[in-house]
Symmetry: C2
Subunit: 131 residues, 2 copies
């Protein structure tokens, strides 16, 4: 299977697959003409990566998870630790974004959005403190 087939099968752009090889996440075979060849194992790895990335794991986390996945003797605690760390990061981001949303939402709510120059949004951005 060539790269475009692998791309279709996994939903990952060909460019991304090449990138994953470049940074050593995967090692697809090569056929005699130099084309990358993807086996079921490669596809499984790519699917794994696609899912882990979709859950927001960093490439480095993915590398660890992939290594653990390929290690039949790994302890689930190791996996859980990585996942929990990532989960905390996600929750921090959500909390930050929620704060942004609330502040910004309040500003938008109080802004008439008409043709006049007075604008609470700009006023707030100019103020010395958000209060």
């Amino acid at each position: 299977m060539n790269i475009s087939q692998a791309s279709k099968a996994t939903g990952l752009p060909a460019k991304t697959i090449r990138y994953y090889e470049e940074i050593g996440l995967i090692r697809p075979m090569r056929s005699t003409n130099g084309y990358r060849t993807f086996t079921d194992t490669s596809l499984h790895q790519l699917n794994f990566l696609a899912r882990a990335r979709a859950l927001g794991f960093s490439i480095d986390h993915c590398r660890s998870l992939l290594a653990l996945w390929e290690d039949r003797d790994r302890a689930s605690a190791d996996v859980r630790r990585i996942a929990l760390k990532h989960l905390n990061e996600i929750e921090k981001k959500i909390s930050d974004l929620t704060e942004m949303r609330d502040t910004l939402g309040e500003l938008v709510r109080t802004c008439d959005g008409d043709g006049r120059p007075d604008c609470p949004i700009l006023n707030s951005l100019s103020a010395t403190s958000f209060s």
Copy 2:
């Protein structure tokens, strides 16, 4: 006022202030020795930028907002449009992250995290669908 004073006054790193000048967001004066000189106006702009960035506005959005801020005849509708667009992006991110958190949280919850190799997190990442 030199750059380190401006940095203290606004909370922005000196590097960031230089960067903002480089991309044309601000244009501080220069004194005869080549040092940047920050006036009250510069500080106000920097504070404005710091606040807008803290609310997650992109540099491009900041550029527009700053231009609108300096235009006494602007319509508040223009500002509101930018803020609303950004608000939608934030809400999309929150929704994506929340979905991630829920999925990942469920996986972590069902993972014993002991020394044994069985791990629902990896199993799920290997599965053909999250369901």
